[in-house]
């Protein structure tokens, strides 16, 4: 009876509430989860087709948007990597054992430094591409050259822009020559997929983009644009044949539809479950939610450049903002616990993170006092640019509400993501911008350099001391020295507050219990690590 009442209440909410489309979707999915329970109560349930799509050898995965290309030297947005990450291999691989991050050999068996700008890699022999070509150093050289080639305009250029070229010493030994000492070589090799040089040269990029050939655990079968991509297990995979024979990636952009696909057994794994839907999925028999904290953080960038003339150019105002935000309350109420507060712009997963650098805890009185020190005893008006993606609007409204308690009147300027990014890059966003950041390098350089080194497209901060620390940290291979530079940089950020770190994001996946799979902090989706039961 309670569930029937809940169903009726939910229906009533849907019919009468003035909800946005996204809110409606979320509410609708909540109702959808109540419906099967109600149908059992009312005796109207049917098992028709429920398990029709399931097979003991195949899994179906619900992606949020279409794959863009299967040429691994080009686009590398999350959904595209989810697919081609199973077709191609990298030379090294990120690994987490009991939460401890490490870089492991993969297509390369070892990596050593010859001098500050030369890295030597020994490659695995006997590895074949899906078309039978043998994997050698020429393929690595070709891949790097292609990504660095200005005429290719690869979106991955920034990943390896510190490389100069690759020398092929022999078929199974290569040397990566960097322009300057470049400590990020190992981590960037974890993101660089190796494509077959001969196949590429024979067939051209346009052909490869839709007919990929890699050395990975899965072979390409079919791509129907906007609908699905099918992969089959590579029985000759050098690291052992995958257990799951066939993987079908389905393109399902709407959250509600993706969840319906999971509920109707048309998908075994779905990405990007909204936090509001997670509790209901967790209580549905045969389904569960897998979660992991990821490298991506939510934060507020502040306009700290004195020449901007903005109130936030005063450090006291920036500190007042940092003190006035109660992040715990937002994480509890809006993220429903699916996030973790961060003190600095780095998470504990980053190289360069220091637990000794403090953060700003919620303190309304401190905020008011600092504001008065800045000459704004009667409050201050700020412009706050916010993108429409995800739950940003809700977060921004909560933050603005908290700021107003301290006398900071933040006027929200809600814009589409493209406009937000354009405004950010042109440094034209008012005083504050609500952003998210990930570099996928798990290294402080990927976050601190672009955001806080003067002169980058993202930075609104100019401090010669910060520039010096970040430049030194990126030009030495001495790990301990780098950690020292980054700790100083984090201390400087604490003192100057050009940005307010908010929380580390969590990725939520909806999962059929028949699929055994663990999410990774880098959000990569390797099916070779998954298995099916039953």
């Amino acid at each position: 009876m309670e569930r029937e009442t809940q169903l009726h209440r939910s229906l009533d909410e849907l019919l009468h509430a003035g909800l946005s489309r996204r809110e409606l979707m979320q509410q609708a999915v909540r109702l959808g989860l109540a419906v099967p329970a109600a149908s059992v109560l009312l005796g109207t349930g049917s098992s028709l087709g429920a398990a029709a799509a399931q097979s003991s050898e195949a899994v179906s995965i619900g992606l949020t948007y279409d794959v863009t290309t299967l040429d691994a030297t080009m686009q590398y947005d999350a959904q595209t990597i989810n697919v081609y990450g199973n077709i191609y291999d990298t030379l090294l691989r990120k690994d987490w054992v009991n939460g401890e991050f490490s870089i492991q050999p993969h297509l390369a068996e070892s990596i050593t430094t010859i001098n500050d700008t030369t890295w030597e890699l020994k490659l695995r022999s006997g590895v074949k591409f899906h078309n039978g070509d043998e994997f050698t150093g020429e393929d690595v050289s070709f891949t790097v050259q292609r990504v660095l080639d200005p005429s290719v305009a690869s979106p991955q250029f920034s990943n390896i822009s510190g490389y100069d070229h690759v020398e092929v010493v022999d078929p199974y030994t290569i040397r990566i020559i960097t322009k300057q000492p470049f400590p990020l070589v190992p981590i960037t090799l974890c993101n660089l997929r190796i494509v077959p040089a001969k196949y590429f040269e024979q067939n051209g990029a346009e052909h490869v983009a839709v007919n990929p050939v890699g050395t990975g655990p899965y072979k390409f079968v079919e791509w129907v644009r906007g609908d699905h991509v099918t992969l089959d297990a590579n029985p000759d995979y050098w690291n052992g044949a995958p257990g799951i024979k066939t993987v079908v990636f389905r393109i399902i952009p709407e959250d509600a539809t993706r969840i319906a696909a999971l509920q109707t057994a048309n998908a075994d794994l779905i990405l990007a479950v909204p936090p509001i839907n997670a509790p209901a999925l967790e209580t549905t028999p045969d389904l569960t939610v897998a979660k992991t904290l990821i490298e991506r953080i939510s934060w507020i960038e502040l306009q700290a450049l004195p020449e901007s003339g903005r109130p936030t150019a005063k450090p006291e105002v920036r500190k007042a903002i940092a003190y006035a935000i109660d992040r715990d309350a937002i994480i509890t109420a809006l993220l429903l616990g699916n996030g973790e507060k961060v003190s600095t712009m780095l998470t504990p997963k980053h190289f360069g993170f220091s637990p000794d650098v403090p953060g700003y805890e919620f303190d309304l009185e401190q905020a008011k006092s600092l504001l008065a020190d800045a000459g704004y005893a009667d409050g201050v008006d700020l412009e706050f640019m916010v993108g429409t993606g995800g739950q940003s609007k809700e977060y921004a409204e909560a933050i603005a509400g908290q700021l107003s308690d301290a006398g900071i009147r933040a006027k929200i300027n809600l814009v589409e993501s493209a406009v937000l990014l354009a405004g950010w890059q042109k440094h034209d966003f008012g005083d504050m911008i609500l952003g998210t950041w990930t570099s996928n390098t798990f290294d402080a350089d990927g976050t601190l350099y672009p955001l806080f080194h003067s002169g980058t497209v993202w930075s609104n901060y100019n401090n010669p001391e910060m520039d010096r620390l970040l430049d030194q940290a990126r030009s030495t291979l001495d790990g301990a020295a780098r950690e020292g530079f980054y700790e100083q940089a984090l201390q400087l950020l604490y003192a100057d507050v050009p940005g307010v770190p908010l929380w580390e994001q969590m990725a939520l996946y909806g999962l059929s219990k028949r699929l055994q799979w663990q999410p990774r902090p880098d959000q990569e989706l390797f099916l070779v690590d998954a298995s099916l039961s039953g």
Binding site: R225, P253, A256
Partner: protein, 305 residues
């Protein structure tokens, strides 16, 4: 007739030029594809390299000229995201959108017209009231709401239809209903009012006085005349379906041009958005031309100068 068609082709070219110019301008002033397509930690150097490679560092009028020069040769550029010719990407998706739009049109016709006729024939009866309430609801309910409700009830709860994707007829029914509801309701209301007006005409009374059966009066005399405005509306709605498919295709994960357009708008993939808009606009103009010609055929009072 020949002059009329030449005039229409000229108008079509003007419309397509206008549409291209507006879309080009709006897209270019509302965001930067480099910011959306490159990784977040992209360096200034790589952003500039991307812009230069795609000509975005050129003045806007030069970019527009290049776009037009390519368009007249049938080259709408390469997708920034997919690295494939934009036109072929859209054309590849168009059959799915047309399939959905035609299915929605069929639903509009087979539900809207009979409902309107029955309402007109049984005017002011409870049946008429019920039919008009249903059509009022159909015009009021947003397509995305109806789509989600149908997925929840007919896919998740009763498991009658698959919740998403393209396949056989079973995959087509829910998105087609979702897309057509507004149009079917409008057609029902127009049919009703048209039929009521025609049924009151003297020639209908004459036909009845001749002793013709009611079915013959309705089919041969009343419906043909009442159909004229409905054909216009159906033509407009078919064009509207091509645009409206953006939402429906996204909700039902239907792999058509609408879903592609949505993804391309978010990433400011200019060539794909422009190709989609040009194709939809061309389709819309063509459908209207066909409607006008059909109108003339059905109504001898209309003559083209």
């Amino acid at each position: 007739m020949g002059l009329y068609i030449i005039g229409r082709v000229y108008q079509t070219a003007l419309v397509l030029f206008g549409v291209s110019a507006v879309v080009f301008l709006l897209l270019h002033i509302s965001g930067d594809p480099a910011a959306l397509l490159l990784p977040q930690d992209a360096t200034k150097e790589s952003i500039e390299q991307f812009r230069h490679a795609h000509g975005f560092d050129q003045p806007l009028y030069i970019q527009f000229y290049r776009f037009l020069a390519g368009a007249v040769r049938g080259d709408l550029g390469n997708s920034l995201k997919f690295n494939q010719p934009a036109l072929s990407l859209v054309l590849e998706r168009f059959p799915a959108t047309m399939e959905l739009a035609l299915a929605a049109l069929v639903i509009s016709i087979v539900t809207g017209i009979p409902l309107g006729i029955i309402s007109a024939m049984k005017r002011n009866s409870p049946l008429d009231t019920a039919a008009m309430v249903v059509s009022m609801l159909g015009q009021s309910i947003p397509a995305f709401w109806l789509g989600i409700m149908m997925i929840l009830l007919l896919s998740v709860k009763w498991q009658i239809f698959p919740p998403f994707g393209r396949g056989g007829i079973s995959h087509l029914i829910l998105p087609a209903i979702s897309l057509s509801t507004w149009s079917a309701a409008r057609v029902a209301r127009l049919t009703r009012s048209g039929m009521i007006e025609v049924l009151g005409q003297e020639y209908i009374r004459t036909a009845r006085a001749k002793g013709l059966a009611n079915v013959v009066v309705v089919q041969r005399h009343a419906l043909k005349n009442a159909m004229l405005p409905i054909i216009t509306v159906l033509g407009l709605d078919l064009g509207g379906f091509l645009g409206g498919a953006v939402i429906t295709e996204t909700i039902f994960a239907w792999p058509g041009a609408g879903q592609l357009a949505m993804q391309s708008i978010y990433s400011r993939d200019y060539p794909v958005v422009q190709a989609t808009v040009l194709l939809v606009a061309s389709g819309y103009v063509l459908i209207n031309l066909v409607v006008d010609v059909t109108y003339a055929y059905l109504n001898p009072r209309i003559r083209f100068g």
